[in-house]
Symmetry: C2
Subunit: 436 residues, 2 copies
């Protein structure tokens, strides 16, 4: 196939690459405006990434944090979704080249988000797990359960130790929340599931390069999170840099080693840029340099929003944090700016409205940073749940997630303990290791 | 690994192969009796097979019809579950040889169920989809959605026809329920999801070898089901036998052909027997010949229950139907018979209590055969839903399924439209074709 079969239209065509937080908020705001919108994504669903760790730890089904993109854009006029993987951009010819064909654009918006950054370490990339997508999260879930099944079978102490030792590299929100969830599985679920295994042997090691967990949050919240994790039995290693992982051995800069079959790498993300741009445009963190109107440097009709974009201004020399909020806000603003362009009106610059950040460590344990107020504990935990529930797309998902949380809370359970896609065992259901 | 690490016990050891309806009902009844029970299954979850078709058509998440086996057997004394694939039985040495090792048994119960029967046609097996497991159902879901995404991209009428033509071979309950679910997707979901595609072109062809659908049910119910399916726009081909499927072409005995990229084969099942038995013991349908105590012919300590077993008596020369009920009832009886053996008491023979059968075709459309009463329509549909809900294991699953059904009914939706494991597109998430 070489065509995307998008009908011609009297409206100028906006091609959006990526149906994440940024791309989808833009698409929604462009509903029934005078544009033809073409949304491309390599998945046919939007992923609510903040809850991936709960899919990985069996607390939620993948279906309840994913939402079919086509359902979002039902009844949008002159709107087309295509399941496609973009290969490169032809900025000269104003074309997007994808696996399903080539398409011309009047305006292009790159909202491809970010991917795991292994900092060029091939061994770590090959041997550790990432958690940026639903398939990856389901793989982690399967791997963890398969490890316990295997731990039952071995009398080799060292092997059993490696099977029951879970190393999480990176103590950002993802690493912290995952470590907390593992700790709760260890406490409430695994001892019941594996009575003939000494679950006390299970180790959860959280390794952080800097001197504190939740680096981006307030000292108070970071300190609280540290205490919560310790209380849950997570071993935290600060100022430790992982330099290698092979043959079940994690090595750190300081010379420490960990004997483990499972390393989950949350230590870094990088912009998921697309071929077709000058090197000079690629900023720190592999992000595209854009101005305050999200125009990619050197272009007036090519935009980038969200994690993949770095809005470089005097106030923001490093761009904005790679989180959902900047992406959503940039998507919203870009929609109105595209309308302004069509009307030859001056563009509005992006100003980030920091609504704060939060992380949950476990039941009744969360930390919240609001611009003027930091708090933690039970109330923070309820705030965290409330915010995440209302942020989920779709009434059904909200309700299913809510119900699952109530259930898990009351019975101390996580029922998604199904090895639906065996990760290790070499059988027909096995999965290739590195998936996007 | 060569050991299964099952501790020795003063109790005689019962090894159960398979955690389906039969194996699980047996395991439950053996709870805390004077046996050591070892349950082996190649999945760590029990699958509620009657609802697989709803997973395949996006009506339910896989997690809500599967249940972790370890959760079922929590707090069972002297009970051990092992995730294992059994290779063969050493009836002489009373050993089970599996991929994870070998185990000795005092009593062996084969509850391996059934698998899809392609009647030796290699081309059909290679090119068509089966629907006996959750991974297979998720593959069908992905394939269907991928077909529509692909149909959008082609201008080749013949190719588009093949992509939108769904052929279901076999009009038993599975085939009928699947055809009905596809018809409802065509009516309520797909036109909204694919506005730029003429969904009227979608074909659902149901091919049945015999002269009626739901062959095993009453003429009245079979006739009603036929009418329901026709009303929903399903094309039904009776007395047609599929003899080949290759290069998108289905050929039937009568010379009819269908141009399709999707064939779902529900035309036959066969017992999932295990190596180690004489040919003479293998009955019609590849089932093990057992007596009324479910003892495999020639053995007193090896039993078979459910689909894999054929209880050959004068009253049942062909054994019992391959459905959940006989398996469950045989499992229950065998538990008490094993206790009787331990107490040197005479065994009780199996007498099948036929509770009737039912099938659902679509919203407000179902047929129910009770021993003395057949009925159909809305009431039958509610009965069908009620029976299936109470049969599901676990309060959470019951509630999640119930909620999804209410939601789907009210908003005419099926939200599980996620291509989580792309089936066709050759990327890292792709799946091998034939999975158990």
């Amino acid at each position: 196939m070489t065509k995307m079969n998008i009908p011609t239209s009297s409206n100028p065509r906006v091609v959006i690459i990526g149906g994440g937080f940024g791309g989808l908020s833009l698409a929604k705001k462009l509903k029934n405006k005078d544009f033809q919108v073409v949304l491309l994504d390599k998945h046919n669903y939007h992923t609510f990434q903040p809850l991936l760790y709960q899919v990985a730890t069996g607390g939620l089904e993948s279906g309840s944090i994913a939402y079919p993109i086509r359902k979002v854009v039902q009844n949008y006029n002159d709107f087309y979704f295509r399941l496609a993987e973009v290969e490169r951009i032809d900025t000269e010819g104003k074309k997007v080249i994808a696996d399903i064909g080539t398409i011309y654009f009047d305006y292009l918006v790159i909202a491809t988000g970010s991917k795991t950054n292994f900092f060029g370490n091939e061994e770590i990339r090959k041997n550790s797990m990432a958690m940026k997508t639903i398939p990856q999260s389901l793989n982690i879930r399967s791997l963890v359960l398969e490890n316990f099944e295997a731990a039952l079978l071995t009398n080799d102490i060292k092997e059993q130790e490696a099977l029951m030792n879970f190393v999480i590299v990176g103590a950002g929100p993802t690493g912290v929340e995952l470590a907390g969830a593992f700790a709760e599985m260890k406490k409430h679920v695994l001892p019941k599931d594996y009575p003939d295994l000494d679950i006390r042997k299970m180790e959860i090691n959280l390794i952080q390069g800097s001197g504190k967990v939740l680096d981006a949050m307030s000292d108070k919240s970071s300190q609280k999170a540290f205490e919560f994790l310790r209380k849950l039995g997570v071993d935290i290693w600060l100022n430790e840099q992982v330099i290698d992982y092979r043959n079940n051995k994690v090595s750190t800069k300081s010379g420490r080693t960990f004997n483990t079959e499972t390393v989950i790498w949350t230590a870094g993300v990088m912009g998921a840029t697309i071929d077709g741009f000058e090197e000079t445009i690629i900023q720190r963190g592999n992000r595209l340099k854009v101005n305050e109107f999200n125009q990619v440097e050197g272009f007036t009709d090519i935009f980038a929003i969200g994690d993949v974009a770095s809005v470089i201004t005097e106030q923001t020399p490093m761009g904005h944090p790679m989180m959902a909020q900047p992406a959503i806000q940039q998507g919203d603003l870009l929609a109105s700016n595209l309308v302004r362009i069509a009307k030859n009106k001056p563009l509005k610059p992006f100003v980030y409205n920091d609504k704060g950040s939060m992380a949950t460590i476990g039941r009744n344990k969360a930390v919240v940073d609001l611009p003027k107020w930091q708090f933690s504990g039970v109330f923070a935990w309820f705030v965290w749940m409330f915010i995440h529930l209302i942020s989920l797309i779709g009434f059904r998902n909200k309700l299913v997630v809510f119900w699952n949380w109530v259930y898990n809370y009351l019975v101390f359970d996580r029922q998604g303990r199904l090895i639906v896609r065996p990760y290790k065992r070499k059988n027909e259901e096995s999965f290739p290791q590195n998936m996007n």
